[in-house]
């Protein structure tokens, strides 16, 4: 007894295999192409600076706030008691933050007292703070409900 072969079934099976093969090869080629494209994108330097912190700036700010004037009062106490920066702490802030960090954060460096109630960020030493947030780091220390000490250092416009 001869074996009857269903040739139609064979054709459909073969087509399935061919299509599957083509799909696999296309996926591989696309993946290889994308990998090659990714390779061509210049690699950025890997940096450990995470988000909005800079340990050196934080250290400087803490030491700055602990610096005492000739009367023995430290700058944090002065900023808590007074309306804004005075000659002593304003000039020291300029020397510390601008001189030390303008190389790394050349877009904007602003230090001062922010009054939440009035919404004013301005003083005679750093001028008016930019209203647009820049790309860089920032420190914020709350003095009371209405008043914060703000330090922002930006590398570029946000």
């Amino acid at each position: 007894m001869g074996i009857k072969v269903n040739k139609k079934a064979q054709v459909s099976t073969t087509i399935t295999w061919i299509v599957a093969t083509i799909i696999i090869i296309v996926i591989l080629l696309v993946s290889m192409f994308l990998t090659t494209l990714l390779k061509l994108i210049p690699k950025q330097e890997v940096s450990s600076t995470i988000g909005d912190t800079d340990l050196f700036v934080t250290k400087s700010l803490l030491s700055y706030l602990l610096t005492k004037d000739s009367s023995g009062e430290n700058i944090f106490e002065q900023l808590s008691d007074e309306e804004n920066l005075n000659d002593f702490n304003g000039n020291l802030a300029l020397n510390v933050f601008k001189k030390l960090y303008s190389r790394d954060y050349h877009y904007e460096i602003w230090f001062g007292v922010r009054y939440n109630r009035l919404g004013q960020n301005q003083n005679n030493f750093f001028g008016k703070a930019s209203t647009k947030p820049g790309f860089g780091v920032g420190e914020e220390i709350k003095i009371n409900q209405d008043k914060d000490i703000i330090l922002t250092l930006s590398k570029r416009a946000g």
């Binding site: 074996i3 591989l28 990714l38 940096s47 340990l55 700036v57 020291l92 020397n95 510390v96």
Partner: protein, 353 residues
């Protein structure tokens, strides 16, 4: 009914699967090699981690840690006190000594000085000092006042030491970007507080006018727009002024003596970093001697400078990365300081590479 299996068909299917598996495996290997073939450069990140660790070690709660300045043994045991160990086993034959450089300086705070850097009261360094050149190249601007920097001019100092070179430049009202001493030490505006050393973002007065004559000198040093600012051509009215487009380097040498190997190695590191940063072509049109921009007028760096070897080595150098940071600190008696930390990580080449 007897079921007859098509064994030939099974073989074909097996071969097909083998081919497909091979293709997939080959593609995965290809993509992995392409994507991860070049290692990511984490030297900058490592430098930052090291800098932060040192900063944490030296300052606590806003105050400079007690005993650092008073306790003479602190400096000797600084690395162990900061829980840092550079002396790892060199089991893979890495050039251990060239892997890192760490420099720490504590200066008195002096707001009258450009970087608040008063008298130095504490200094510490360990590792390969040649890596320091990385730092000097890292924190500089790509352009100077909107004009491209595309030239490096080498000079010799006709002085016996770097310190004397600074003095002479000051006396003559000249300036330079770097001075390479005979032991390979590089002086720059970063480590030397003198108007004679300026940073790369500032034009230095080192090779400005190459024609004699007061008229030419006045023209070149005035604010008049320079002729052919992007062309290295001599203008008949004036002179070739290369200051605005060049980095000037003084090499300490009396003019009639051999350059030391340490000097040449340090200079190669320095120049290779500069050309990398500014994309300056490595050829003798863009890396020149003073004698070439002032022919017949200036002789430096002279016939004893090993141009051929120097240029070949510059071409073979790679860019290095580094980081240096400062922070302000006070102690409990309200003395003010600036703490500088400069940690540098090397390229990590194996011996013989």
């Amino acid at each position: 009914m007897k079921l007859i299996r098509n064994k030939k068909g099974d073989k074909i299917i097996s071969v097909y699967w083998f081919v497909i598996l091979f293709l997939v495996a080959a593609a995965v290997v290809y993509m992995t090699v392409i994507f991860y073939g070049t290692p990511k450069d984490i030297r900058n990140a490592e430098s930052e981690v090291l800098a932060n660790k040192i900063a944490e070690c030296l300052s606590e709660g806003g105050y400079l840690k007690e005993g650092i300045l008073e306790d003479s043994s602190f400096k000797d045991n600084l690395l162990s006190k900061c829980n840092i160990n550079f002396n790892v086993e060199d089991f893979s034959n890495w050039k251990e000594k060239t892997q890192y450089y760490l420099e720490i300086a504590i200066n008195k705070f002096d707001s009258a000085l450009p970087k608040n850097l008063g008298e130095n009261i504490f200094s510490f360094n360990t590792g390969d000092i040649n890596l320091k050149t990385d730092y000097l190249l890292k924190h500089t601007e790509k352009e100077r006042a909107g004009r491209e920097i595309d030239m490096i001019v080498l000079h010799y100092s006709v002085t016996p030491s770097a310190q004397r070179t600074v003095e002479v430049l000051e006396q003559r009202g000249l300036s330079i970007h770097y001075i390479v001493d005979k032991d390979g030490t590089i002086l720059s505006s970063f480590n030397t507080d003198s108007p004679a050393l300026v940073d790369e973002g500032t034009e230095a007065g080192h090779a400005g006018c190459v024609r004699k004559g007061e008229e030419a000198r006045l023209y070149c040093h005035s604010n008049v727009e320079k002729p052919n600012p992007n062309e290295f051509e001599q203008d008949k009215k004036c002179c070739v002024d290369v200051n605005f487009r060049s980095i000037g380097i003084e090499i300490v040498n009396m003019g009639n003596e051999e350059y030391t190997p340490e000097q040449i190695i340090a200079l190669e590191n320095l120049v290779s970093g500069i050309v990398s940063r500014y994309d300056i072509p490595i050829n003798r049109t863009h890396i020149v001697g003073h004698e070439e921009v002032a022919p017949g007028y200036k002789p430096d760096p002279g016939p004893l400078f090993p141009w051929e070897e120097f240029m070949a080595n510059v071409e073979n150098q790679g860019e290095e990365f580094g980081l240096g940071r400062e922070f302000y600190a006070v102690d409990k008696t309200n003395n003010q300081y600036i703490v500088k930390v400069l940690p540098l990580i090397g390229k990590g080449e194996k011996n013989g590479d």
